[in-house]
């Protein structure tokens, strides 16, 4: 599984290598419009994703003057559906890149776009009906949980106790946590407790404070997200129990990656779930219009372990995340 | 043939019996007036007849048979309709929608045309040319009352119970109301009419029942009782000195007003108020009386020159008016005068809190002020810590008067001093007002009750359509003269 995703990622970079050549051939072609619809920047990870989306669109617009991009961000599913309908009705898009806010409500509207003969790329969260999209680009939630779980398994003594902070209750969160639990199965590591920190610093801080009151001994924390990791670290510091436990976040926030680079003992590693995956999706959709290579299929970008040794290559100082 | 009757009805709330063995019979085609002081039991009787209360003892008879109305709507279904003082209309709906509220014509789709047609037929019968699609909130108060009456008739009312219907109406509008009542009488409707206005009782009622302290003390047919004997029966004693004797105003002016205008309401009014004088202001509702007063004390934007004791003063807020020695008692006691859900103390001192402590409010001093006020103004409150809304109307008015007098004003403007108040309290308030003038203060009394203005004031100004129509004084202070001025019918003006 891990091997296959790595191979896909390799194939992806190979395709991108073709980009420059294809661009020359398409100079005076007709204008194509690509709509990009993503959730708005309500928390750190989405903030990073928004930044990468804007960054990529700017870059693509320069490289391919005949491509035009329409970006819309939505705070909820209903707004996202309206955004997509507007793109169809008023901007006459030829392709759509969509990161569905929720799977169920977006399935029918995106299917309608597909039926109108447009090219559809779905990012990260799959639609509830298979076979609609031409291209699927996603992070690997199962791997995200599994990689973290394996690290806990390999680096904790048997009999160790850990606590887990979960995200906002969603399928995505369930997949991660189930994979994490599966990876720990059979080990002597005990999960003391799990609570929802909602991918929010303040909520994670509160939950961690209560965990610290409740459990006199905690050896490690899986915070599952770097925003939550920051709140957790602060709560641990306030209780003066920094020496007792380490914390694994997730998604590769630049501040956290920096601390891993610097060898912070409290933050040994991190698991990627890069917000940059939206860039790959936009780039591949663009290629579909400017090259003759068919850009269809499923591309799963695996989650990797960031260690002090390789942290440098995951550090994007310009990104807000 | 009696339609609705009470037989030996008593009603107790807890251990206290408020009605004692009351008999009352309503006949078709007859106006039956029910009079009595506040607290005499009128509203309890109305509630029992209207199905809102059950009698503790005795029975309600409908067409000679005992009935127990479980609720107001049940009584309505039997043809007994109560028109409350506070109208029961949805103000954002049209007249037609209100008339058919809860029994609309049409199935899933409303038949608006039919409802409009029936509404205009009904209103025509009442000689009220109101367009059925007008919204209630765009109607005048008497028109709303007409809609209420129409609503009652459209439900085939056989008994109509009216609670103080004329309290909200002007002189002319009362005339229309009387016509409607006459029409309903001819149609055979039985009407129970509750009112504080004895003149209209004498005019309207075919039969009068006088209540005192929960018992019927007098029954009479039309013409058997004049106003004085009605009042005497209600209070249980003779009211020879209903209005206090008039005073001797000094020639010195206390307040001089010239060229006062309130945009859209009052134009170019000028007058002089003398020290120790009670000056009446009469006129129809809408003639600008209240607006003139509110413009004077800074509650409305106004222009013009005001002098107090010869000195010009600029008044742009009620605070300025207080500083100049003016105070205003509003006609709208419940909505602008008192905080009904707050205690007596909070109400008394609300306008003058700065006198009770710079930073920390001195509740001891406030309590002392309340003690003094309850004594001075004879405020009868069962408990000191009760909320103002639980006081009777008369005691609320006395509390409001005490609140108005707390800044120690030299010039007091009192708008409708006795609206909705029983006879006994009325005469008390008249005495207070006269007392103020005897102390050398000056009082302006605005009133819709002609007899009140005449009985109380030393001089009467009459307003019409925002202007001063004239003034009457001494022997010329007659209802006839005032009405002529108020209506713009040719007559003598000063």
């Amino acid at each position: 599984m891990k091997r296959r995703s790595l191979m896909k990622a390799a194939a992806l970079s190979a395709v991108m290598g073709l980009t420059a050549g294809a661009a020359l051939a398409q100079e005076e072609a007709e204008k194509k419009v690509i709509g990009v619809s993503i959730p708005s920047a309500t928390h750190g990870f989405m903030g990073g994703l928004n930044w990468h989306a804007q960054d990529t669109i700017e870059r693509m617009g320069k490289v391919y003057p005949n491509l035009e991009f329409v970006l819309a961000t939505a705070g909820d599913s209903a707004k996202q559906v309206s955004d997509i309908e507007d793109m169809m009705a008023t901007r006459n898009i030829d392709g759509l890149v969509v990161l569905p806010f929720e799977s169920e409500p977006l399935t029918a509207p995106v299917a309608a776009v597909k039926e109108a003969g447009k090219f559809v790329t779905v990012v990260d969260r799959g639609l509830s009906q298979e076979g609609i999209e031409d291209l699927y680009v996603a992070g690997d939630n199962t791997a995200f949980g599994r990689v973290a779980g394996q690290y806990f398994r390999d680096n904790l003594e048997p009999g160790s106790k850990i606590v887990v902070l979960r995200g906002i209750p969603t399928t995505l969160d369930n997949e991660r946590v189930e994979a994490f639990q599966a990876a720990l199965e059979g080990s002597e590591i005990e999960i003391l407790d799990m609570e929802h920190g909602n991918w929010n610093r303040d909520d994670a801080f509160t939950v961690m404070q209560d965990f610290l009151s409740k459990y006199p001994e905690i050896n490690a924390v899986w915070a599952a997200d770097d925003d939550m990791a920051i709140g957790v670290l602060e709560a641990i510091a306030a209780a003066g129990r920094e020496e007792e436990m380490w914390v694994i976040g997730g998604a590769g926030m630049k501040e956290i990656v920096k601390r891993i680079m610097d060898g912070d003992p409290q933050l040994p590693v991190n698991v990627t779930y890069p917000p940059a995956l939206i860039s790959a999706a936009i780039e591949m959709t663009a290629l579909n219009f400017v090259s003759n290579a068919p850009m269809t299929g499923r591309f799963i970008i695996g989650s990797q372990l960031i260690t002090p040794e390789n942290a440098e290559q995951f550090h994007f100082p310009d990104s807000p995340y | 043939m009696t339609i609705l009757a009470l037989q030996d009805v008593s009603k107790s709330f807890g251990p206290i019996e408020v009605l004692h063995d009351v008999d009352l019979a309503l006949e078709p085609g007859e106006v039956h007036a029910l009079i009595g002081e506040n607290g005499a039991g009128k509203s309890t009787i109305m509630k029992i007849l209207g199905g809102f209360l059950d009698p503790t003892k005795g029975q309600v008879l409908l067409d000679g048979r005992q009935v127990i109305f479980g609720s107001g709507p049940e009584a309505e279904a039997a043809g007994v309709v109560v028109i409350h003082q506070e109208f029961n209309l949805a103000s954002d709906l049209s007249v037609a929608a209100n008339l058919f509220l809860g029994r609309e014509i049409g199935g899933w789709r409303l038949d608006h045309a039919a409802m409009r047609k029936q509404t205009s037929e009904l209103l025509e019968r009442l000689h009220s040319p109101i367009a059925p699609e007008t919204l209630i909130r765009d109607l005048s108060v008497p028109d709303r009352q007409m809609v209420e009456i129409g609503k009652a008739l459209s439900r085939n009312a056989r008994v109509l119970i009216m609670d103080e219907p004329s309290a909200v109406l002007t002189h002319r509008e009362v005339g229309t109301l009387y016509e409607q009542i006459d029409r309903l009488r001819v149609e055979g409707v039985a009407i129970l009419y509750c009112s504080h206005r004895l003149d209209e009782v004498a005019h309207l009622a075919d039969r009068i029942t006088v209540l005192r302290d929960g018992s019927v003390v007098r029954r009479a047919m039309r013409g058997e009782l004049d106003e004085d004997s009605m009042a005497a029966a209600m209070v249980g004693r003779e009211l020879q000195d209903f209005y206090p004797p008039k005073g001797q105003p000094s020639p010195e002016p206390a307040l001089e007003v010239s060229g006062l205008s309130v945009p859209g309401r009052v134009r170019d009014v000028g007058f002089t108020l003398r020290k120790g004088e009670v000056l009446g202001i009469a006129g129809l509702v809408g003639s600008g009386r209240t607006e003139l007063a509110e413009g004077l004390v800074g509650l409305r934007a106004a222009s013009g020159e005001i002098r107090v004791n010869g000195q010009p003063v600029a008044i742009s807020s009620l605070r300025d008016a207080f500083d100049a020695g003016l105070a205003y008692l509003t006609e709208d006691r419940k909505e602008a005068g008192l905080l009904l859900n707050k205690g007596l103390r909070e109400n008394l001192t609300l306008a003058t809190l700065e006198r009770f402590g710079k930073f920390r409010l001195d509740t001891v001093a406030e309590d002392a002020a309340l003690d003094k006020a309850t004594g001075d103004f004879d405020i009868r409150a069962p408990r000191r810590d009760m909320v103002a809304g639980k006081l009777s109307g008369g005691n609320q008015q006395k509390l409001l008067l005490a609140k108005t007098m707390l800044p120690d004003p030299q010039i007091i403007i009192i708008d409708e001093p006795t609206r909705g108040i029983d006879v006994g309290t009325k005469s008390q308030i008249y005495a207070f007002i006269r007392n103020l003038s005897a102390e050398g203060r000056s009082v302006i009394v605005i009133s819709s009750e002609m007899t009140e203005v005449i009985g109380l004031a030393d001089r009467v100004l009459v307003m019409r359509e925002g202007r001063l129509a004239g003034q009457v004084e001494g022997n010329a202070m007659t209802e006839d003269n005032i009405v002529r001025l108020a209506m713009g019918v040719a007559g003598e003006a000063a």
């Binding site: 708005s40 989405m46 209750p169 991918w199 801080f205 404070q209 409740k214 | 509003t330 009904l340 306008a351």
Partner: protein
């Protein structure tokens, strides 16, 4: 008057019941550390809710406080980071940040109040608007990410949240002072009496020579000031602000005010009740975290049930009074 008033006692009884329940479920509940945690985290919402009590009592409403807190935290952080090169890593720089938060709060409150009293727009609409504006502004300032305070400044500033006198940390002390002052103002000052009068019937207030608009405006400014103060204590906790800071604080503050017995339609303000309401809300969260009573998915439902119950208890009392 002499008989105990269920209206005011109801929330207090609920609070005591929650404390007993918490202590029974987990002995760690009464540990000084946990008590400090709960009180300190109640402090932000608590101070905001005290201000909200005045606004609601005067017949108003402010939905913008959560976003306003996020925005104030954002500009305070930006101000401190900007002042750092010139002023250095010292308390002066932090005072600049505090000043920006508190003054910003006053200005934001003035903005809300002026739109409501001068432009005569419904408070719900005005503050719904400013809620969106503040939230967007902070997201924009943070470029969709997080605004972080310089590390050195954070270390210096940190004790303002975590330090204090023994177990009693500064947020708790500040909250207590705000609560006492709020109670005193509501009960014993002219301003408090005027606020209640306006909420009870603003026409009566106007006819009693009270400057209704001025008092209303002042309630919004007081609330803004307290949001600023809450921000001053919030920033050192995590040293950061983002688009997700203070989400739903407005509803928690309003819920605390209502649980405490203040009528949503105005007229009666109970600052003590509000403090109890805030503590109840924090305790529910704390106990649910400590005790594994129900699925964490149901935490929101438990809170909802308690809010509705608290209000139902008061309603019962009111109906009984009216009979």
């Amino acid at each position: 008057m002499s008989k105990p008033d269920l209206h005011t006692l109801g929330p207090l009884v609920a609070l005591v019941a929650l404390i007993v329940l918490g202590a029974l479920l987990n002995p760690a509940f009464l540990a000084p550390g946990n008590i400090t945690n709960v009180l300190a985290r109640s402090a932000f919402i608590g101070m905001i809710a005290v201000g909200m009590t005045f606004v609601i009592t005067a017949g108003g409403l402010d939905l913008s406080v959560g976003s306003m807190a996020a925005f104030l935290a954002g500009i305070a952080i930006i101000a401190m980071n900007a002042a750092l090169p010139g002023m250095g890593e010292n308390w002066g720089t932090i005072l600049v940040g505090m000043g920006v938060a508190v003054l910003g709060g006053l200005v934001a409150g003035y903005l809300n109040g002026a739109l409501i009293t001068k432009a005569r727009i419904e408070p719900f609409i005005v503050t719904l608007g400013t809620m969106g504006i503040f939230r967007s502004l902070v997201t924009w300032l943070a470029d969709g990410g997080t605004l972080s305070l310089d590390y050195g400044l954070r270390t210096l500033y940190r004790p303002v949240y975590y330090g204090g006198i023994g177990w009693i940390t500064w947020p708790i002390i500040t909250f207590a002072i705000v609560a006492f002052a709020g109670e005193w103002i509501m009960r014993h000052s002219r301003f408090g009496r005027h606020v209640e009068a306006i909420g009870s019937n603003d026409r009566v207030a106007r006819y009693s020579a009270i400057d209704v608009n001025r008092i209303r405006l002042m309630t919004y400014m007081l609330l803004g000031l307290l949001v600023g103060l809450a921000t001053v204590l919030y920033v050192p906790r995590l040293g950061s602000a983002s688009g997700s800071t203070g989400v739903l604080w407005e509803l928690e503050a309003i819920a605390a005010v209502i649980i405490g017995g203040t009528a949503l339609k105005g007229g009666t303000g109970r600052v003590w009740g509000t403090v109890v309401g805030v503590l109840i809300l924090s305790l529910i969260d704390n106990i649910l975290n400590l005790a594994d009573l129900v699925s964490p998915y149901l935490n929101g439902a438990i809170q909802g049930v308690i809010i509705v119950l608290a209000v139902v208890l008061q309603r019962e009392k009111r109906i009984a009074e009216e009979r």
